[in-house]
């Protein structure tokens, strides 16, 4: 049995005892009320009444015989005693009293004697004589017995016993109420303890035992209010995905635990895991030391991670945001994450947050929104198409197109569009809108962009689309798609693999070299492979040369 099992069992037992003691307490209380009732009302009251009324009638009878009482008054006492005896001998309230010391039998005898006098009472006068003397003697004897038994019940040992019974019942009620109180207290204690434990767990990352994102936000908010935060560092592990993929997630987990252990040791209570391979550290200290502190952190997390199977050098990327007065926790965290994202893009180790990052992020979001609106047909295009006429060696003209933003006149990057998943739709829309009948040339930066463009490409019909790429690697699936769509490719570099690609059936027709001095060297190779060189048309070149020659 584990500690947890024992704990649960104990809690269940306490709960049961709590319920039992509350129910039992209520039962005891009602039984106590019954006891009080039996003692005071049923026993005490009824017995004293029957004693009183039997004595009153006996003395009434003596007074009447001595001539000191009217028949009317005696008749009243007679009726009251009759009623009392009638009730006492039948009532459920007095069942207990009747059974004690033969009181019931004595009272029944008394009732018979009383009933025997009934004809004379009804007639309005008692017949003096021996019969009445005997009757009175019997009534006196029975009344004395009633008195004796009554005294025995109402005073002395029996009364004490009844009172003791009451006291005992009260004592047990108090005991059970005490148990109820203790169990209730224990339950409340358990509840508070569980609550605190749950609170602690909800702020903890189970694998690294560091605080989680919620803990960071709470702690950061508090520390910012007290002005104790100098900077927030967000970091992630370089090539962590590769570690997971190549060495298995167990190694990845151990790596994360190793990083967490170092962070916890160097920044106790100020290191957190945000999720995945991202960690955060809250820096508090003197402003001038911040750069040095960051250097220390970078070198702290630059270590060789050794496993049974392999070892590799770990390196991290850092994004740092300085705390400025009046900033809230969410803003600071966002800034540090922006700086880290910039570090990922630039493949840098450490980037400090600059306000421009935020501006560029929001501009990027705005531009993306505009593009989406345009693709949905809800807004005019935010892009301008710039066309440049090129010529191949045979003099066939080709229209090279590139994109730039209408606002700001900056070029619209293919990679940027690919990252946001809109490259394919944008190219498809451009082709649909284009009026030119000349072959179109679009320069892509990566092979993966080709797949993306092809996925959205509308039927080309009579038109020709040339997609330029830096290089190509073998990809059967891509080749199949490419031949379905009927696109033509242009290569920017002529590597050693090009002949093999051509043999495999890749539709490479053109060579689009960067303008440089090496063109001439590669020209024979291109000719040998049957690729047509694309370049600026002679007219344009002539014009440019003329412009350069003109005096400024």
């Amino acid at each position: 049995m584990t500690r947890r099992h024992r704990h649960n069992l104990l809690l269940a037992a306490i709960s049961l005892l709590f319920l039992f003691s509350s129910v039992w307490g209520l039962l005891l209380q009602s039984r106590h009320e019954q006891l009080v009732d039996i003692f005071y009302r049923n026993t005490h009251w009824n017995i004293s009444q029957v004693m009183l009324e039997s004595q009153r009638f006996l003395y009434g009878l003596r007074l009447y015989r001595a001539g000191g009482l009217e028949m009317e008054a005696l008749s009243l006492d007679y009726d009251l005693l009759w009623n009392r005896l009638d009730v006492f001998l039948i009532s459920s309230e007095t069942a207990d009293a009747r059974a004690r010391h033969g009181l019931g039998t004595v009272l029944a005898g008394l009732f018979d004697e009383i009933k025997a006098l009934e004809p004379q009472i009804q007639a309005g006068a008692l017949q003096e004589g021996e019969a009445l003397d005997r009757s009175q003697a019997r009534i006196a004897e029975l009344t004395r017995q009633v008195e004796q038994i009554g005294d025995q019940i109402l005073s002395g040992q029996e009364r004490e016993a009844s009172l003791n019974q009451l006291r005992q019942s009260l004592f047990w009620i108090q005991i059970w109420q005490l148990i109820l109180l203790v169990m209730g207290g224990m339950l409340v204690f358990a509840l508070i303890r569980t609550n605190l434990q749950n609170r602690r767990l909800s702020l903890l990352d189970p694998m690294t035992r560091l605080g989680n994102r919620r803990a960071l936000q709470g702690q950061l908010r508090q520390s910012l209010q007290r002005g104790r935060v100098q900077a927030l560092v967000v970091l992630d592990l370089k090539r962590f995905k590769q570690v997971n993929d190549l060495l298995g997630y167990q190694v990845g987990d151990r790596l994360l635990q190793a990083v967490a252990a170092r962070l916890r040791q160097a920044y106790p209570g100020r290191a957190y895991r945000l999720g995945g391979d991202e960690f955060a550290v809250v820096l508090a200290g003197e402003q001038p030391g911040l750069e040095a502190e960051m250097e220390a952190m970078v070198s702290l997390l630059q270590f060789e991670f050794v496993t049974r199977e392999s070892s590799f050098d770990l390196a991290c990327r850092f994004g740092v945001a300085r705390a400025i007065e009046g900033e809230d926790a969410d803003q600071l965290l966002e800034q540090a994450i922006l700086a880290l994202n910039q570090a990922k893009r630039d493949n840098a180790t450490l980037i400090w947050y600059q306000p421009a990052m935020k501006a560029s992020l929001s501009m990027g979001q705005r531009q993306l929104h505009q593009l989406r609106e345009w693709l949905a047909g809800a807004a005019p295009s935010p892009l301008e198409t710039i066309s440049e006429t090129l010529e191949d060696e045979r003099g066939q003209q080709v229209l090279g197109i590139s994109l730039r933003w209408r606002v700001g006149q900056q070029g619209c990057d293919m990679d940027w569009m690919q990252e946001r998943g809109i490259l394919g739709p944008v190219v498809a829309r451009l082709l649909t809108d284009a009026e030119q009948r000349l072959p179109l040339l679009l320069v892509l930066h990566q092979q993966s962009q080709l797949a993306h463009v092809l996925a959205y490409l509308p039927p080309l019909g009579e038109r020709t689309l040339i997609l330029a790429l830096p290089t190509l690697t073998e990809d059967a699936l891509l080749l199949e798609k490419l031949s379905q769509r009927g696109c033509v490719l242009a290569l920017r570099e002529l590597g050693s693999r090009v002949p093999a690609l051509l043999r495999a059936g890749w539709p490479v027709r053109y060579w689009l070299p960067d303008p440089s001095d090496h063109d001439a060297l590669l020209q024979p190779l291109a000719q040998q492979l049957g690729l047509l060189r694309l370049g600026r048309s002679a007219e344009v070149l002539e014009g440019e040369i003329r412009r350069q020659g003109e005096p400024r």
Partner: protein, 160 residues
């Protein structure tokens, strides 16, 4: 002689008339109003009120019996007392109880005069017994309520 006979007959008639009047007007119980006014209630006054009848067992009798009489509420209403909240009731032997009428608002708390169509006598909790049908309202069949069921009832005092 005739005159003498007639005279005796007349005298007897007058006497019996007085006699019956005297017996019929002897009050069974007294109602005390908040202004201390005392209203005697006799057999006829109780019989003139709407009667309630029920069958019930009680802790003081053997078996179930039928009881009949006007309700306390009807008796008070007949005296123009509508919103009585508390009464003090007294029995022939001096037993006294004071209680709140609110719990009895929906219960026929009755001034029982007849048990199984026979008038209650002093020897059988009479002439009037304040009683309610316990068999029909078992939740009232408890000791504190039992205390209010006063037999040989002689006095009802309205507490303002």
């Amino acid at each position: 002689m005739d005159i003498f006979k007639h005279g005796i007959a007349f005298l007897l008639l007058v006497l019996t008339a007085f006699g019956t009047q005297a017996t019929s007007s002897s009050p069974l119980l007294h109602l005390i109003l908040p202004d201390k006014r005392e209203i005697p209630l006799d057999e006829a006054a109780l019989a003139a009120l709407p009667q309630t009848e029920f069958e019930t067992e009680t802790p003081w009798t053997a078996g179930a019996h039928r009881y009949r009489g006007p309700t306390l509420k009807a008796m008070l209403a007949a005296q123009g007392l509508k919103d009585v909240t508390h009464v003090r009731v007294t029995g022939l032997n001096g037993y006294q109880q004071q209680f709140d009428l609110a719990p009895f608002a929906q219960v026929p708390l009755t001034l029982v005069r007849y048990q199984d169509d026979k008038p209650l006598t002093r020897r059988n909790k009479g002439p009037v017994w304040l009683l309610m049908p316990f068999s029909e309202y078992p939740e009232f069949d408890v000791s504190p309520i039992h205390s209010f069921m006063v037999w040989q009832l002689v006095r009802i005092e309205v507490i303002p």
